[in-house]
């Protein structure tokens, strides 16, 4: 790394010893998982660069923004609308929670047997090894599962935390009303922190910024319909993971360049794999950086992942292009809150939308099989798998169910299952 960020990290109160250990492992993992891939799009260089400076450059940008009087809002889940945060003149940054590196610190407070994402989310703060977390003025949580909800209560002892209530039956009138009011309350909270009163113009502009980001990500998703796909599942996953914390406008520009390269590749029939490689959809729990475990296993076994029905995939853009033609703050926020309830999270009941999405995507992306991915003890996704399998059977698409965490102990067993699944598909 060219610039020395040690002083910056120390000032942020980072646990330097532990942080050094983390930074020592990452390049090795990244080389092994990412840089070893063949035939990568050239435009992936930007994302490699972002990862190589994961705790440096972007953190510096956040601190510069803070110096200029802006606030930093941290979040974990899509249910915290980026549009509102940008409109409040704050910077939104997604936190990761994709590693078991801080399990020990987390388990001093949290139960051992809970979701690894929840454990990591809390652990990275408790262990003081995430400069984003350290730089944040507030963390905005949501109620998309009981574990997270309760974890945020404990997190609030370590940093200012605000929780948005997400209703459970989104199709009802009362749910829409509740979420709208929650968004209005979040707006007030953000205004209180930033001291900036959100205007119609602010919202029109921020909706435009995030719409542009979603539009380009939708294009990225579409390129993968090509046979063979022009980009690996691993690389696409990384782009979505970075979408959570990069500057939205720069990210949109860089991803536009990537999409142009991919479209060129499709024209020239350039793919990352052979045409005969089995096409796999991954559906289920989000995968936060640096959780590349399943993708790495699947793509190292000769298949290619062509779509993720996930918060780091199609769910990221499922609010679509939000209408910003209204002329009152209330109507614009109504447009946002209505659109966000289209994210088919497994916290909903009965959440038929998610099953329909997967069936539709299976056809659109011509997948040979679906791998249902659930983090350990994630009851929502884990239980929904049964419904998913039944619906996929009707259209003759086989499904493999994987439940795992961030450790490496089950890599051998998962590899065997994935390979057997691929052998079954190839016959």
């Amino acid at each position: 790394m060219e610039t020395d960020y040690r002083k910056m990290w120390e000032d942020l109160g980072i646990n330097m010893e532990k942080h050094d250990q983390l930074l020592a492992v990452l390049p090795f993992v990244y080389r092994n998982v990412y840089l070893s891939q063949k035939n990568r799009p050239k435009a992936m260089e930007y994302y490699d660069f972002v990862v190589s400076g994961v705790h440096g450059i972007r953190v510096k940008e956040l601190l510069d923004a803070k110096d200029a009087g802006k606030k930093v809002v941290a979040y974990f889940c899509l249910y915290v609308p980026e549009e509102l945060v940008i409109a409040s003149n704050a910077v939104l940054v997604g936190l990761c929670g994709g590693s078991n590196f801080t399990d020990q610190e987390a388990e001093e407070v949290l139960p051992r047997n809970i979701c690894p994402l929840i454990k990591a989310s809390y652990g990275f703060k408790a262990a003081r090894i995430c400069p984003y977390f350290q730089a944040a003025d507030i963390c905005v949580g949501e109620t998309t599962c009981d574990g997270k909800k309760k974890m945020y209560e404990l997190l609030s002892e370590l940093c200012p935390t605000y929780t948005v209530e997400v209703p459970q039956k989104p199709d009802t009138e009362q749910a829409r009303e509740l979420f709208y009011r929650e968004m209005m309350a979040l707006k007030s909270k953000l205004e209180e922190i930033t001291g900036h009163k959100i205007t119609v113009q602010d919202l029109k502009k921020s909706i435009g910024i995030v719409n542009a980001k979603r539009a380009v990500l939708d294009q990225l998703i579409s390129t993968r319909k090509a046979v063979p796909p022009p980009i690996s599942g691993k690389d696409s996953l990384l782009v979505f993971q970075i979408a959570f914390y990069d500057d939205p406008q720069r990210f949109t520009q860089k991803t536009k360049e990537l999409v142009e390269e991919l479209q060129e590749r499709i024209k020239n029939k350039v793919g990352v794999v052979d045409e005969s490689a089995p096409r796999i959809m991954v559906s289920g729990c989000p995968m936060a950086i640096p959780n590349w475990k399943l993708h790495h296993i699947v793509e190292s076994s000769g298949a290619v992942i062509v779509v993720e029905e996930s918060c780091v995939g199609t769910r990221y853009t499922s609010m679509g292009q939000i209408d910003n033609s209204a002329n009152t703050v209330e109507d614009l926020i109504r447009a946002i809150s209505d659109a966000y309830l289209n994210i088919h999270c497994s916290c909903f009941t009965p959440n038929i939308g998610r099953v329909e999405d997967v069936v539709r995507l299976a056809k659109e992306f011509k997948v040979d099989g679906v791998i249902h991915y659930s983090l350990q003890t994630c009851h929502g996704y884990n239980i929904e798998a049964a419904k998913m399998e039944k619906s996929l059977k009707k259209i003759n698409v086989p499904m493999l169910k994987i439940e795992t965490d961030y450790s490496n102990e089950d890599v051998g067993q998962i590899t065997t299952r994935v390979e057997a699944f691929l052998e079954m598909i190839r016959k």
Partner: protein
């Protein structure tokens, strides 16, 4: 005449090799995997070839399977144990549509079609619950051998209720039952009940299709097979040597691989 092919199944507990010639098993070997899977693989092939009266040099193609398949660099290719067990089981009984395989480290249920192809499968999760290892640990605690364990199911009039499936917790449960003066036979029968309960659930999850065949080391426990038959209300066939079915499937894969090479 067919080429001589070998199927090698390096499992967590034992390593199996099958030598196949003209679609006939002409030799096989079963030995303990121990700490060096690669070495056990080589030894198993050597032993199986010796029994077949074949020079290992004359083996044209070798397919490795089992968790140790990556430790067999000398094999021509690697196929998972799921595909191999299905293939091997179907070869011994082509009416089989459901294969139950309970090995040392994992248990699986495989659903196959009329051509012996895998259509679906289920595997136990990462721990040893419902596997051969579970039984081995319990046999040691009870100081019983395989035959005694199997007999216990038939002889016990009042099998103990074992509620823990975790090997470590179940072991302490067994120890406290022994301390209470419970008969060994009843505890052993209880353990067999609990393991077969778990396997039966996996079968039901995937959907029972007849006929059912059981392979892997645990299939040698007639008590467990009997309990499973009752729980699933179906007849279960067990091949003469259930432990080598994965290796047999690997050998059949080797045979097919040669055919494919010849065709292309």
């Amino acid at each position: 005449m067919d080429a001589v092919v070998v199927g090698l199944d390096i499992g967590s507990a034992s390593t199996k090799a099958v030598v196949l010639k003209d679609s006939q098993i002409v030799g096989y070997a079963i030995l303990s995997t121990g700490f060096n899977p690669q070495y056990s693989g080589i030894r198993a092939i050597g032993e199986a070839c010796e029994k077949a009266g074949i020079n290992p040099k004359d083996v044209v193609y070798t397919v490795a399977t089992g968790y140790g398949r990556i430790n067999a660099p000398f094999a021509n290719s690697r196929v998972t144990e799921i595909t191999c067990h299905a293939k091997g089981a179907f070869f011994t009984n082509n009416r089989a549509r459901t294969v139950i395989d309970v090995g040392g480290q994992d248990s699986k249920v495989i659903s196959i079609d009329e051509k012996g192809r895998v259509v679906d499968f289920q595997m136990n999760d990462r721990c040893a619950a419902g596997t051969g290892r579970f039984l081995e640990v319990m046999m040691r605690t009870l100081d019983m051998n395989y035959e005694e364990m199997s007999q216990a199911v038939i002889n016990s009039e009042n099998p103990s209720k074992i509620s823990n499936m975790c090997t470590v917790f179940a072991e302490s449960e067994v120890i406290s039952l022994l301390a209470k003066g419970e008969r060994r036979e009843n505890i052993a029968a209880g353990l067999c009940h609990s393991i077969s309960e778990r396997i039966a659930t996996m079968v039901k999850r995937i959907g029972l299709k007849e006929e059912v065949i059981m392979t892997g080391g645990v299939a040698k426990n007639r008590g467990i097979v009997k309990l499973l038959e009752n729980k699933l209300n179906t007849k279960i066939s067990v091949p003469k040597e259930p432990q080598i079915i994965g290796a047999l499937g690997a050998a059949l894969e080797a045979k097919e691989a040669i055919l494919k090479i010849k065709q292309s």
